[in-house]
């Protein structure tokens, strides 16, 4: 009883004009839902489910207000939401947990919109939630999307506050669109000139690269085929000169040395070995620029073999290009590689590492290798050399019934044995893994290289797109006198893996993510072009916006000749530019005000034309006096000027302007050329004179 009383009193206390209107609640809910939608990709499933539930309750309650939970249930829901986040992330701080909690509480606040103040709070928090999403995704698409959400948000706030005379959503939208337009120059100025943080974001406790699908530093059956159905971007590369053929594009990533029977791992190489990595011979290097998505790993991808070390990187003894810091943000580097090379011979310790065998090598694997080793030449048996053995192994994969599939059968305790002799269905990792193992059995040092193969050429942007689906694994074997030699056993099985892109049938029924309909279909070509165009936009966005750094600012300052002012230059420049921009906007607005009236513009045009024939209007001259003066000076203009003024004067001073008047006035002016008329009348005068003569 007492409770009901207090609640009634509470609702009664709120004046009617402070209660939010239904459509405001509706649109706010919709906006929150729209802002949460792209976020759902990064949130834990149970958090997303909770958000959806609350949003649904809110929408239902809009139709049947009785469904709105009361104070106690709301409190319970708040605790449930908190518990939900804790259950999903075990924390409510940090990027993931914090964002989840923010989204949860924002959505819960939707259930408690008693006053317009609540609504305002929700909208402002929504702005924050939108910005938080940039920690997860900085793509151009999302930026556009969030831009639209911001526009909606400002529209609702404008309407809510009745700002700038906007009553109703439509005028409010106009107002906020105007605001957005006016904000653009300022945004540009601030973007270019606002001093950039040089400290990376992770020092602020924010993790800017998270949950990335990407290459890991180990390989076991299944983890590359996971990648291959993932169309996400790995990196973009732009070649300085001609792009090499697709089957030359082996993008070298982590090198794996150790095999435990199932899993390949890098294994820390013994310290102090063979530094730096040396190439004995090499072809001319090719140059290219890579813009790489964050991986949280230290390795960078470079074409086999990298020969240059960009700033902040080093080439490891096994020829990996490694960054000094994990790549947690977009990384741009220029690299040089040689496509044909001969590496130096490693020492015994390295050789031993590359020959280590796991415990589960089976006798039939040894027998297979022994079979290859023994070769019949001129009727007598002799031992084949290492390189011949490599060729025989490749021929084995090619001749025997090996299939290439993304959906290989499950392998048991000894994957290599089972694959080689029983299932014979696998993907590049199976081939590379078993091939490397067989080589080790044969006494040939081998190692696995992970990376990407090929990439799609984007002719719009002139660069190569490498996606996660281009992930690949291959083998390097150490051949006496030739150093480490790259061998791609997968290529032996199915050459189309290199020459063509994966076709749908290869991906299997389960993987419908990517498809290549073939060049014949015009629609397919068109779709592909559209996709590439979109990617070009995205790349441009990265290039010009996301990657705009403190260094770029410094370069800009130098170019403006303000390099010496490093310290304050940017700030001064920013203040200057901001004032100039604001001043410009002000001028435009003022000009708009004086010249806004279309009627005035027409009159000004008439006066300008008359001024052109030496009859300028005096500043203090009214239209009537001016017209009389003009008529007296140029009787030939009387009909047009008089006709114009006869329409203009009542329209202006009697305020009887109609669109029709304006039309007629502008028609009159269109054919009005006092200069031409004077020539005409002079000519006419002459004719009359000569007639008279």
């Amino acid at each position: 009883m007492h409770k009901t009383d207090s609640m009634t009193r509470k609702t009664n206390r709120i004046p009617a004009d402070e209660r939010p209107e239904r459509h405001q609640i509706f649109w706010t809910t919709l906006l929150v839902a729209a802002a949460c939608a792209p976020f759902a990709r990064y949130l834990d499933g149970q958090v997303t489910a909770f958000l959806a539930l609350i949003l649904a309750i809110r929408l239902v309650a809009l139709r049947w207000p009785a469904a709105l939970p009361n104070r106690w249930i709301r409190a319970l829901l708040a605790f449930a939401g908190l518990g939900n986040c804790l259950a999903a992330y075990h924390t409510v701080t940090g990027q993931d947990g914090g964002s989840a909690l923010l989204a949860t509480m924002l959505v819960l606040k939707l259930l408690e919109l008693d006053t317009k103040r609540d609504l305002r709070l929700v909208l402002i928090l929504l702005g924050f939630l939108s910005v938080v999403q940039f920690l997860f995704d900085e793509s151009f698409q999302l930026t556009l999307y969030l831009g639209l959400i911001a526009l909606g948000l400002v529209t609702l706030l404008t309407e809510l506050n009745g700002g700038l005379g906007a009553a109703g959503l439509r005028p409010a939208l106009r107002v906020s669109a105007r605001l957005a337009l006016q904000a653009i120059p300022l945004t540009l100025v601030l973007f270019v000139l606002f001093p950039r943080l040089t400290a990376p974001l992770w020092s602020l406790g924010i993790d800017s690269s998270r949950g990335l699908m990407g290459m890991s530093d180990s390989m076991e059956p299944g983890n590359i085929s996971e990648l291959v159905v993932n169309g996400e971007l790995a990196f973009r590369a732009r070649f300085a000169g001609r792009r090499p053929d697709a089957n030359q594009l082996y993008w070298r990533g982590p090198v794996l040395w150790k095999m435990d029977g199932r899993r390949w791992t890098p294994d820390a190489p013994p310290s102090g070995w063979q530094r730096p990595a040396r190439l004995i011979e090499s072809s001319d290097p090719i140059e290219y620029e890579v813009v790489m998505e964050p991986t949280k790993q230290r390795w960078l991808f470079a074409l086999d073999m990298p020969v240059s070390e960009p700033e902040g990187t080093a080439i490891s003894p096994d020829h990996q290009l490694l960054s000094n810091q994990p790549v947690t943000a977009l990384k741009r580097y220029n690299a040089r590689s040689v496509l044909s090379y001969r590496t130096a011979e490693p020492d015994e310790r390295v050789r031993a590492l590359a020959l280590e065998l796991p415990a589960n090598v089976t006798p039939r694997m040894r027998a297979l290798v022994e079979d290859w080793r023994t070769q019949v030449a001129d009727g007598r048996e002799e031992r084949a050399d290492d390189w011949t053995l490599v060729q025989r192994a490749l021929a084995h994969f090619n001749r025997e019934n090996f299939y290439y599939t993304l959906l290989p059968p499950k392998l048991g305790a000894n994957p290599a044995d089972e694959f080689l002799f029983e299932t014979r269905r696998g993907f590049c990792e199976h081939y590379a893994s078993s091939f490397a193992l067989l080589m080790r059995i044969a006494g040939i040092p081998s190692r696995i290289v992970l990376g990407y193969l090929g990439g799609e050429t984007n002719d719009f942007g002139g660069y190569t797109i490498v996606r996660q689906s281009d992930a690949h694994a291959w083998v390097e074997v150490l051949i006496e006198g030739r150093g480490w030699v790259r061998v791609d056993p997968t290529a032996a099985v199915d050459p189309s893996r290199i020459d063509n892109r994966l076709a749908t049938e290869l991906l299997g029924a389960g993987a419908s993510v990517r498809f290549d309909l073939g060049e014949a279909a015009a629609l397919a070509r068109w779709m592909r072009d559209l996709r590439l165009l979109g990617d070009t936009l995205e790349a441009t966005w990265q290039n010009w916006v996301l990657d705009f750094s403190a260094q770029d600012q410094r370069r800009l300052m130098d170019r403006l000749g303000l390099g010496a002012w490093q310290e304050y230059g940017l700030a001064v420049l920013m203040v200057l530019a901001v004032s100039l921009t604001l001043g410009g906007i002000l001028l435009v607005l003022m000009h708009e005000r004086t010249e806004r009236d279309p009627l005035e513009r027409l009159y000004a045009r008439l006066c300008r034309r008359l001024a052109g024939v030496g009859l300028p209007r005096l500043p203090h001259e009214g239209p009537g006096d001016y017209g009389q003066r003009v008529t007296a000076a140029r009787p030939d203009l009387a009909s047009t000027v008089g006709g114009f003024l006869a329409l203009y004067v009542p329209a202006r001073y009697g305020e009887r302007s109609t669109p029709e008047t304006l039309q007629r006035l502008s028609n009159l002016l269109r054919d009005f050329d006092p200069k031409a008329q004077s020539v005409q009348s002079a000519f006419r005068g002459k004719v009359t004179a000569s007639n008279g003569g």
Binding site: G622, G624, D625, T631, V649, R652, Y653
Partner: protein
């Protein structure tokens, strides 16, 4: 061709015909007549400043006749008392009470002749009545007739025995005009023509009181668009900022300017105000408020007005 397009105001021909008839009696003073009529239609009072004998009285008389107003004339002298203007209460023995005898001010049109010859006390009695349109005698408020219109004449100050009107009093006149000597042509016609007094006496009223009041009301309805308001405001601002004038124009002067311009527009047959209307009435409306009560220094009202106008863009 006419550059002042006519729309249909209340009764355009009426005003025109009045001016035509007046022009037949007072020759060559069309602009002054038009101003006087405009002043009356705007419910303002008129100050005519000139030498004796140029037709001030004739003008007042003529207007009274033409407009069908009853008319009285007060000759201001230095011994004139307020009671001579307003009236006195006299003891009536028959009714054993005081009875109010209304003074000459209880007329529709009053000619206050040589107003600057009277003492300030008598002047202010008239001027207060002009402003309030009512007089209070012995605690009783009496309304003046409607319409109520005062034409005051004033001699140039170099004549002896004059009390100049202070600025505050001058401000109560909507317009001040000068009649001046007639041009040669008109003067000869005047000399050759018949007696003006007889002509005036013969004049038939051109309209009834009700019609006059209706005309006055339609002046108020004349439309003044925002550019006109802006223009008038700019003029006021200019006079306040200019070093040439000791004081700028008052808000009342601004209102007067607007009303006079509206009235002028009505006479031109328009139902909206043009900048030219403001410019036409400016010399009569503004200058006497700016140069103060120094009619002796005749710079010329038009000249002062031109100075203002050329400095304020339309």
């Amino acid at each position: 061709m006419s550059l002042h397009p006519t729309s249909s105001p209340a009764r355009p021909n009426l005003a025109e015909s009045i001016l035509l008839e007046a022009g037949a009696v007072i020759l060559g003073k069309d602009r002054e007549l038009r101003l006087a009529l405009a002043c009356l239609l705007a419910r303002g009072h008129l100050l005519v400043e000139d030498l004796p004998g140029v037709g001030k009285t004739t003008l007042a008389h003529l207007l009274a006749r033409l407009l069908g107003l009853d008319y009285s004339r007060i000759q201001f002298t230095s011994d004139l008392l307020p009671a001579d203007v307003i009236g006195v209460s006299v003891y009536d023995r028959a009714s054993e009470s005081f009875r109010f005898h209304p003074g000459p001010i209880f007329s529709q049109l009053i000619l206050a002749d040589e107003i600057n010859r009277a003492t300030p006390k008598a002047q202010s009695a008239l001027l207060e009545a002009m402003e309030e349109r009512q007089v209070t005698v012995e605690g009783e408020t009496r309304r003046l007739p409607e319409p109520f219109f005062v034409i005051a004449t004033q001699n140039p100050l170099f004549q002896v025995g004059t009390f100049p009107l202070p600025e505050s009093q001058l401000d109560r006149f909507l317009m001040r005009i000068h009649l001046g000597y007639p041009a040669a042509e008109q003067e000869k016609a005047l000399l050759a023509g018949e007696d003006r007094r007889e002509m005036v006496a013969r004049q038939r009223p051109a309209l009834t009181n009700a019609e006059l009041i209706e005309l006055q009301k339609s002046v108020i309805r004349i439309h003044a668009a925002s550019p006109i308001i802006d223009y008038i405001h700019a003029i006021l601002q200019f006079t306040r900022g200019s070093e040439r004038f000791a004081y700028g124009l008052s808000p009342r002067a601004g209102l007067g300017l607007l009303h006079a311009a509206k009235s002028w527009a009505l006479l031109a047959g328009r139902d909206y105000v043009m900048p030219e209307d403001v410019q036409a009435v400016l010399p009569a409306v503004a200058v006497h408020r700016l140069t103060g009560g120094e009619p002796g220094q005749r710079i010329g009202d038009d000249e002062v007005a031109r100075f203002i106008l050329t400095n304020v863009p339309v």
